[in-house]
């Protein structure tokens, strides 16, 4: 304890008073903790917190995934059912259907975000006047709360009172009340893609912009000397050199959209029917509405493993583009 108090009161120590190297080294050995001790002392609280809040519950959940626990009938004794939950899930057509819905959502939203985001990045990279102001405006949607976004888009997309349908009607002549973006089986899957793209295209844009700016000018200068056409320059220089950045954006968006819950839960809550029921919404229903804890733990673990695998690849790409 004494040791700690002296360490935490550095005001006693002045540089002038400690200028003798031998003296100071001795003092450090006596009063200071060794670097190794400090390293562990500094890292331990973070690891402890993550173990308590993430790993311990995870291990508990793995145990529960082998049981038939149902919280609405928790008076029943805990019964171990082996791999039954996992086989139930993997042979359940409904679950495969939700995974398909999720995959379609991920593929279409990420593809649109890449096209729009990369296009915007190419345009902004031309450094026109006022580009940083407009970039900030474009970035706003991705900073908002996805839940709040999902909620206010339900107003914008209301067939009659919402402005979206009226705007479409203005351009196409289709009466605004003749279609419902969130209530129609044929449109709802596209609606969640649309709102997600509105929100996250700026994310792809920002990362691609960094990629474009990382390309040194002299490469283009050399290409000009060789009389490479702009089209050729794009395919041989710009695109290959921004691919790692694009990968980073695509992987992260894919992971995020694979586990998408908040925005879609408020925009369509999985409906109409189950046309926009992403796998996270299925999981929420199983765990927090049907209270099938054993079953939902198993489903959660399947999702965990998938995300963990993807996160592994993501970190590899992250280290590749890391700028030191």
């Amino acid at each position: 304890m004494d040791q700690m108090t002296t360490i935490l009161q550095p005001d006693h120590v002045t540089i002038a008073g400690m200028s003798e190297p031998a003296k100071s080294r001795a003092a450090r050995r006596v009063r200071g903790l060794s670097d190794r001790a400090i390293a562990w002392l500094f890292v331990a609280p973070t690891i402890a917190l993550l173990l308590a809040i993430n790993i311990f519950p995870l291990v508990w959940m793995i145990r529960l995934s082998f049981t038939s626990l149902n919280l609405s009938m928790s008076y029943l004794p805990l019964r171990f059912v082996g791999l039954d939950n996992f086989t139930d899930i993997l042979t359940d057509e409904d679950v495969w259907f939700r995974l398909q819905t999720t995959a379609q959502f991920v593929i279409w939203s990420v593809a649109l975000q890449v096209v729009i985001g990369y296009g915007l990045a190419l345009l902004i990279n031309r450094q026109f006047r006022g580009h940083s102001f407009w970039t900030t405006i474009i970035l706003l949607p991705m900073m908002l709360s996805p839940a709040v976004v999902g909620n206010f888009w339900t107003l914008l997309l209301q067939p009659q009172i919402g402005p979206f349908n009226s705007l479409i009607s203005l351009f196409t002549g289709v009466p605004p009340s003749s279609f419902s973006m969130t209530g129609q089986v044929s449109l709802a899957p596209w609606t969640i893609v649309l709102v997600d793209t509105w929100m996250w295209a700026p994310y792809v844009m920002l990362i691609c912009l960094a990629g474009l700016r990382s390309i040194p000018d002299y490469i283009y200068e050399a290409a000009e000397v060789d009389r490479a056409s702009p089209w050729r320059q794009f395919w041989s220089i710009t695109l290959p050199m921004t691919v790692p950045f694009l990968m980073l954006a695509v992987l992260f968006r894919a992971i995020e959209n694979f586990k998408m819950f908040d925005m879609v839960n408020l925009l369509t809550s999985g409906g109409p029917g189950s046309t926009t029921e992403l796998v996270s919404i299925t999981l929420k229903r199983a765990a927090f509405e049907k209270w099938r804890t054993g079953y939902s733990s198993a489903l959660a673990i399947i999702l965990f493993v998938t995300v963990f695998g993807a996160a592994n690849i993501y970190v590899k790409v992250l280290n590749k583009v890391k700028q030191r």
Binding site: I47, W134, I137, Q160, F288, A300
Partner: protein, 320 residues
């Protein structure tokens, strides 16, 4: 792009021609305007009366009123005109506004406690995450830690887990510990999610501070902790502030954990806003007012953070 060659005498080869710039500017501004319209519509809806908000066709021009904001902060009851006529004259402008709709204010709504919850949980978890994150980031940046890469990956991977899946065991654990629907429970949970971002971001910032400064301080007789406090931290202030804002934004915006683990006491704004109900469904002007008040800090933070946004969304890997 096409004009680059033609103008190569006037401009550097790689700089776009004025015409290319103008076209790019026009397209980007068009996109920016379209993308901002939904937000402007919500800000405008907050100033509409109930009937203007649900008018068909939607109204672009309307008479602004503060009804939405008044409705957001109050609970009202409908009364007969006779009853209202007998009341003493309204004391405030909002009493008057409500009575014009044949209603009387019955008391404050729950929005202020929910807002306070958002603030307490947001700032509490941010403070803890940045504090723990700074220590860990310093250790990862300066010391040789065995399996450092694996530990860092472990730390990051906890953040990428699906929140609904994480919430299942947390729900069970919190039930045992009596932490369900408590601010402390939410602060701990958000700290755990934020600390991973904080470690990664701050490691990036601290890596950029030259080691020579600390080494000089150590030679001068500072202990490690003194060197950290007097040399490293002052130089990392910008990074710490940016990290804190990122953590605050996450906690402020978070919905999945909040909706699954809180129901009243500790409920924050995101699960509360969609359930602002008026007579006959969602009270859109009040919802829009709540959304506006909720989003304004985020807009300010985005402007403040714009130079560090890229770092924030790539966990500190991409800097410029």
């Amino acid at each position: 792009m096409t004009a680059a060659v033609a103008n190569s005498t006037a401009h550097s080869i790689v700089e776009a021609s004025p015409r290319a710039k103008a076209v790019a500017g026009g397209l980007v501004i068009l996109y920016a305007v379209i993308t901002i319209l939904p937000l402007l519509w919500i800000v405008a809806t907050a100033f509409k009366s109930q009937s203007d908000a649900i008018a068909y066709p939607p109204k672009v021009i309307f008479e602004p009123t503060l009804e939405g904001y008044v409705n957001l902060f109050t609970v009202r009851t409908r009364q007969t005109p006779d009853f209202i006529a007998k009341l003493p004259p309204p004391e405030t402008w909002y009493d008057k506004l409500v009575r014009q709709r044949d209603m009387v204010i019955a008391g404050p709504s729950k929005v202020v406690p929910r807002f306070v919850n958002s603030l307490i949980i947001g700032f509490g978890s941010t403070f803890l995450a940045v504090f723990l994150g700074t220590l860990a980031a310093y250790a990862f940046s300066r010391f040789r830690i065995p399996l450092a890469d694996d530990l860092l990956f472990f730390i990051l991977s906890t953040r990428m887990m699906p929140p609904v899946a994480v919430a299942i065991p947390i729900y069970l654990m919190y039930r045992q510990l009596n932490l369900t629907d408590t601010r402390l429970g939410m602060i701990l949970l958000y700290t755990a999610v934020n600390v991973s971002l904080a470690v990664w971001l701050l490691k990036g910032f601290i890596d950029e501070i030259p080691r020579e400064y600390e080494e000089a301080a150590l030679v001068d007789g500072y202990t490690r902790l003194q060197a950290l406090r007097k040399v490293v931290l002052p130089q990392a202030v910008t990074g710490i502030a940016a990290t804190a804002i990122f953590c605050l934004i996450f906690s402020w915006n978070e919905y999945a954990f909040a909706v699954l683990l809180t129901s009243g006491e500790a409920q924050t704004m995101p699960p509360f806003i969609p359930f602002i109900i008026g007579e006959g469904g969602q009270d859109w002007p009040a919802v829009a007012a709540a959304t506006t008040l909720f989003v304004v800090p985020i807009v300010l933070f985005t402007v403040l953070l714009r130079k560090h946004l890229l770092r924030g969304i790539t966990f500190g890997a991409v800097r410029k």
